[in-house]
């Protein structure tokens, strides 16, 4: 089971609402690669690459991705995918029920070496054929120049590289964004930082809009900072599939995109997720336009501050009273 696919399932079991969907497990990827390996070696050719030979890497990645994109799915994998897709989107599939196809590499989401974003996410995928295409594209993205270079530099074994793919119904979001279960500025774990804007989260994640921003105390819920910004555009579903950027109505530009009650609900979700994983998280969320339900789209371990943490703030003292010397003893 891959990182992202595994994550969402775990979260659902922890009582957190996620969009309905299914996971194409790493086993499917293994069968797919095995079929390719039978025709010609694949993994060994990648592993043979030098970590700094950019032109050789580029050529071999292009070749490998082309092989993946051209290879039909093994019959039993296609059957499984087809029936799971029909169960999710109805037998006709498609137009009425767009899905997101997200990659989930086993090495991605690992707290020690996140390379989030190196694999691809495809939004507003509208039918089964496209879904199959996108699954292959996700798998192929494991062999992008960036991903391969990353692995080669760290000497990660290719045998361990696998990818689950998550297929989820798209959420038509009224409001969406990200949150961190710590302060990105100070690393403080006692706050939750929420950033959100109108419409789909892609506008926030892609940096196309300056989101509203809040800082909440994780334990008390006190909101210490609220910064409302001018939200000029939002991403919405496009009529023929995909998304488009449209102007935000004047009266909503300076209006908070989340209510205080929703912020508190996000805080509760953030705490649950963090407690579930036992470490700070970086979370994507959306508020469903129809139901106003908050859905969790993705959760990754926070890596920047976690890598810095080292010495304790204070250590226990043999005589607890010695702690007061930090106040009474003057500048040490």
């Amino acid at each position: 089971m891959g990182g992202k696919g595994g994550s969402l399932g775990e979260l659902q079991r922890a009582g957190i609402a996620v969009p309905p969907g299914f996971v194409i497990k790493t086993g499917a990827f293994e069968r797919f690669i095995a079929a390719l390996e039978r025709k010609a070696p694949l993994r060994s050719r990648i592993e043979a690459l030098g970590s700094d030979d950019l032109s050789a890497t580029t050529a071999r990645c292009d070749e490998t991705r082309a092989r993946i994109e051209a290879e039909p799915l093994p019959a039993e994998v296609l059957d499984e995918l087809t029936s799971a897709y029909s169960a999710l989107c109805g037998p006709s599939g498609g137009g009425q029920s767009p899905v997101a196809v997200r990659s989930s590499a086993t090495t991605e989401d690992a707290a020690d070496a996140s390379f989030a974003g190196l694999q691809d996410t495809y939004l507003w995928v509208t039918d089964l054929n496209q879904t199959v295409q996108r699954v292959r594209s996700c798998w192929a993205s494991l062999y992008s120049v960036e991903s391969v270079t990353y692995r080669r530099r760290r000497g990660l074994p290719e045998q361990a590289v696998a990818m689950a793919v998550v297929v989820q119904k798209m959420v038509d979001a009224r409001t969406a964004g990200v949150m961190f279960t710590r302060s990105p500025l100070t690393g403080d774990r006692s706050v939750v930082t929420v950033e959100g804007s109108w419409g789909l989260g892609s506008a926030v994640v892609g940096g196309e809009v300056t989101p509203d921003r809040w800082v909440l105390a994780k334990i008390t819920g006190d909101i210490s900072i609220r910064t409302l910004s001018e939200k000029l555009i939002q991403h919405v579903p496009a009529p023929g599939g995909g998304t488009q950027s449209v102007a935000v109505a004047d009266e909503l530009r300076r209006t908070a995109c989340l209510s205080d009650a929703e912020l508190q609900e996000l805080r509760t979700i953030a705490r649950k997720i963090e407690r579930h994983y036992g470490r700070p998280q970086d979370i994507e969320w959306a508020v469903d336009r129809r139901t106003n339900e908050i859905l969790l789209l993705q959760s990754r371990p926070e890596t920047v501050w976690s890598a810095k943490e080292s010495a304790p703030v204070a250590r226990p003292a043999a005589d607890p009273l010695l702690h007061v010397m930090s106040i009474f003893g003057g500048k040490q």
Partner: protein
């Protein structure tokens, strides 16, 4: 906010002028409190936290007694390593104070060794010593209560003569006066016996939290440590109880907003057994919980509820209304306790390492141990004992006024305590000699001159600080008791240099955002100007004004840290509060619309 250039400094003490025409009133303060040229080399700040209004000559006894005791505890008793006591000076009735830091490393090391033998003994035996403190304090209170009313009979009572007492009544004026004064000085020693150690232990935990959680608010840390049943909440709890009892006894209709306390009591006396039952309840509450004064205890005119029932009675109709609308006025002790526990455990869980958690446990355990004293001492010292003290002086005032020394009883507070002893000896002599006292020809002119000076001084703005700005404020006493930090000083300097911003910044004391009209209350006498929906803007928010917190929607103060009792009460009432702004009362105009963001510590002037 501008960071001042290093050369920037506050006005020098020598540049301050005694307001023309008040020179003689200024001379009433003892020589050791007058600024001299040498004082220009030191940093001073205006102690508007404790002395927000010009001090009358008698009331200066509080500065004298309190700093004698504070200094003794720091310098000689516990031997704080880096700080000695506090010097004070007075000009135009305003009290400026300056700390004496210890900076020589060898001396700090020597004092540290002493400190650990002394202070650590206190921490280790805190509960026993605190129980002993309570006994000492109650003995002191009983002794003060037992002091006789100063009186001079025409003839010595026959019983005294037959008993062979051999000491005449006039001697007991001096005896009672000196015991009154002695008790007050002693009380301040009790006050400081634990206080700095208590604050220090609290601040140790506070500093740890700030390091571990850089964005935690001061108020959250305070909530982790604050007691749920501290004495400071009791007077207000009693009012709530009395409101409930009034409804239960069916006498609530007697409490009309426009009636005075006397009129309400008279109406209850005529309401049969139910009325009497309520009045009995009132007596239970009054002793001792109405021994709380409407200020911080540092001014003779901050009268206790027991001496002036108008304050507590003014609050009863509102409480009764709330009881009748079905609201429970009971403070939810169990829930508050559970919430506090949840906070403590919540933050503990967020710490990065087990070592941090072990250190956290050690520090919060000590903070919880010391905090009941920090929160509780004020009721006994600044309120109960201080009321007894000022009321005893008032009895001398009445006696002297009856002999023509003063136009009225309260005039006594315009003599310094040294002068008052002179006046008493004058009366003692006149009584013994059979001649007329000299005081009636001496004091009335002086009293009216000093009264006029106080009135004049109150109209002058005094600088928040004087002298060169220190690079760091590393004096734990100054930081703990006054919340003065280098950041505060920068804010004061920036405000001084004519900042045109419409923001006033201070400590975030109690979260929430509220808008409303500002009501500038410079003295406790102006409290009645507050209307429902007003935002209180004052020099120091005062916890004993607690009941008015049900009228106002937010509070802003010039001075005070997030651990000031004001901040505690604001949190208790769930009102936004920003404290320690330095100059809110001068920058905000009465009636101006302002927004108070108590979570960020920002007040915005809207127009």
């Amino acid at each position: 906010m501008n960071t001042p250039a290093p050369s920037q400094r506050f006005p020098l003490p020598s540049s301050l002028r005694v307001v023309p025409g008040t020179e003689r009133a200024q001379a009433a303060y003892s020589y050791l409190t007058q600024f001299t040229e040498a004082d220009d080399n030191r940093f001073w700040f205006y102690n508007s936290m404790h002395f927000p209004e010009p001090m009358s000559a008698f009331d200066m006894v509080t500065a004298e007694a309190a700093y004698c005791a504070l200094g003794a505890a720091n310098t000689r008793v516990h031997s704080l390593p880096t700080t000695l006591g506090i010097d004070h000076r007075i000009i135009n009735g305003r009290v400026y104070i300056g700390g004496n830091a210890v900076t020589d490393p060898a001396e700090i090391a020597r004092r540290t060794a002493e400190f650990q033998q002394r202070a650590f003994y206190y921490y280790a035996n805190w509960e026993t010593l605190q129980a002993q403190w309570h006994e000492k304090m109650m003995t002191l209170i009983r002794d003060a209560q037992a002091l006789p009313k100063p009186e001079l009979p025409e003839f010595e009572p026959l019983a005294n003569v037959h008993a062979g007492r051999g000491v005449a009544s006039n001697h007991y004026l001096l005896d009672t006066y000196q015991k009154t004064l002695e008790g007050y000085f002693r009380m301040w020693h009790h006050h400081f016996e634990f206080l700095l150690l208590g604050y220090g232990a609290y601040l140790t935990f506070f500093a740890f939290c700030k390091k571990a959680f850089p964005e935690i608010t001061d108020q959250t840390i305070a909530r982790m440590v604050a007691g749920i049943e501290a004495e400071i909440f009791r007077p207000d709890d009693e009012l709530r109880r009395l409101a409930r009892r009034a409804v239960e006894l069916g006498v609530d209709a007697k409490f009309q907003t426009l009636l005075s306390a006397d009129e309400i009591i008279a109406a209850l006396q005529q309401s049969g057994t139910a009325g009497q039952a309520w009045l009995d309840e009132l007596e239970t509450s009054r002793n001792p919980w109405f021994n709380i004064n409407v200020g911080d205890g540092f001014y003779h005119y901050h009268r206790a509820w027991n001496d002036d029932l108008s304050m507590p009675f003014a609050c009863l109709p509102e409480y009764i209304k709330r009881v009748k609308s079905g609201e429970s006025l009971e403070r939810p002790i169990e829930r508050l306790r559970a919430e506090r526990q949840e906070l403590i455990e919540g933050y503990r869980e967020l710490l990065n390492t087990d070592e941090d958690r072990a250190a956290y446990d050690q520090m919060i355990t000590l903070a919880h141990r010391v905090f009941p004293y920090v929160e509780g001492h004020k009721f006994y010292c600044e309120h109960w004992y201080t009321n007894l003290f000022f009321n005893k002086i008032r009895e001398f005032g009445a006696l002297l006024a009856s002999q023509g020394f003063f136009p009225d009883t309260e005039a006594v507070f315009h003599l310094s305590h040294y002068e008052l002893e002179m006046a008493i000896i004058d009366l003692m002599s006149a009584w013994s000699n059979g001649s007329a006292p000299r005081g009636p020809a001496h004091w009335p002119g002086i009293v009216s001159e000093r009264r006029a000076a106080l009135k004049e001084w109150a109209t002058h703005v005094t600088p928040p600080a004087l002298g060169p700005v220190p690079d760091v404020i590393d004096d734990p006493a100054i930081v703990m008791l006054w919340g003065i930090t280098r950041e505060n000083l920068n804010a004061w300097l920036a405000a001084d240099s004519g900042a045109d911003s419409n923001e006033v910044r201070g400590f975030a004391a109690s979260s929430g955002v509220v808008e409303g009209p500002a009501r500038i209350v410079k003295s406790v006498k102006e409290i009645s100007r507050l209307q429902a929906g007003d935002i209180l803007v004052c020099q120091i928010t005062n916890p004993t004004w607690a009941p008015i917190f049900q009228t106002i929607v937010a509070a802003v103060s010039d001075i005070g840290g997030s651990m000031s009792h004001a901040a505690i009460v604001a949190r208790e009432y769930g009102l936004p509060a920003v404290v320690g702004t330095g100059n809110a009362t001068s920058r905000i105009k009465d009636g101006q619309r302002i927004r108070v963001d108590g979570g960020r510590g920002v007040v915005t002037i809207l127009g």
